[in-house]
């Protein structure tokens, strides 16, 4: 199909009025699809980065205190779990 310049006509206004709904609909749908993905990803990423920062702080605290005692557990799993809040799940 070749692109032919639009010709002016009396029905232009009606066509425009009708077309605007489809054009707006198409752009809004695409925006909604991409925005949904971005929001989901942003929420996950923010939560993970906060968790990572907490864990890094805990590691630094432990390293500053001289490392883990032999045979012992420097931090209870529950304390580390608080940094992550949720059990492991990738993806």
């Amino acid at each position: 199909m070749n692109f032919i310049p639009a010709a002016s006509s009396a029905t232009d206004f009606l066509d425009l009025h009708r077309s605007v709904k489809f054009v707006a609909g198409a752009y809004i749908v695409v925006l909604a699809v991409i925005l949904t993905y971005v929001v989901v990803m942003a929420v996950r990423l923010t939560r993970n980065q906060r968790e990572l920062a907490d864990l890094r702080r805990l590691v630094e605290e432990r390293d500053a205190a001289g490392g883990a005692p032999a045979g012992g557990e420097p931090y209870p799993a529950a304390a580390v779990g608080q940094a992550g809040a949720r059990p492991e799940r990738v993806g």
């Binding site: 199909m1 032919i4 695409v30 699809v33 993970n48 990738v90 993806g91």
Partner: protein, 241 residues
């Protein structure tokens, strides 16, 4: 700072600027064609379709690199490229469907090769995630997914070629070997939008890779803090580990 996070801000700004410029050109600079104002949908629908199909091929190339090198990063790249392509495909498909309703009076036509072949590609890649999810062992999962992505990625250009060679079609052709049939002002808006959508793809893919990397690092640190046994085992997942 991670490798993925390093250029993310600049990439995000470039994406925003390019898409804004592309939309401005599409709506205020490019002329309308005979089909009228509804043709403006073309500036979002076609770039989404092209970028998503290219993304599948890219995913296949990354899959091939994983098979070649065995490095996990290629599996993550392949996964993210295909994941992003699926999202872009859904956007492109919906935008195309709305255009079809406005221009042809139907949301979908089954006797149109371009539409049906695009749907087949999407459905093919919709099975990528279930395939990964079905395989528990991460190495096998990555290997099988890489093989799938290579075969699927090779199918995309073959499919495209087959549709181009078919004689009966009503879907408008934007690009051809002679450089397309767009007037210069429309072509400028189209190519700027195409670059913008490609940048959006790259930005979102990088975001997803950053999320995967953060998750992996979190798990590594947690193991270091409380030991291997105290960390809950991973639930079965389709995402690379």
């Amino acid at each position: 700072m991670s490798t993925h996070a390093r250029h993310l801000r600049a990439l995000s700004i470039a994406t925003g600027v390019t898409i804004t410029a592309g939309l401005a050109l599409a709506f205020f600079y490019a002329p309308e064609d005979a089909s009228g104002y509804i043709q403006k949908i073309f500036y979002i629908h076609v770039p989404l379709a092209i970028v998503s199909l290219s993304g599948y091929v890219l995913g296949g190339a990354f899959g091939a690199m994983y098979l070649w090198t065995g490095r996990r990063i290629w599996d993550v790249r392949s996964y993210c490229a295909i994941h992003m392509s699926l999202i872009f495909s859904v956007g492109g498909l919906l935008a195309g469907s709305i255009w079809a309703k406005g221009a042809w009076g139907h949301w979908w036509v089954w006797d149109e090769p371009t539409l049906v072949s695009y749907l087949i590609v999407i459905l093919l890649f919709c099975t990528y995630q279930p395939l990964r999810f079905a395989i528990e062992d991460p190495e096998r999962q990555a290997r099988y997914a890489a093989v799938f992505s290579v075969v699927g990625g090779a199918f995309v250009p073959l499919n495209f070629l087959a549709v181009r060679l078919s004689t009966e079609y009503v879907h408008p052709r934007v690009l051809n070997l002679e450089g397309g049939n767009l007037p210069p002002r429309m072509a400028l808006a189209f190519y700027v939008m195409l670059v913008g959508i490609a940048l959006l793809f790259a930005t979102l893919m990088k975001y997803e890779m950053l999320a995967k990397e953060t998750r992996r690092e979190t798990r590594r640190l947690r193991r270091r803090l409380v030991g291997e046994d105290a960390v809950a085992p991973l639930r079965r997942t389709a995402a690379p580990m």
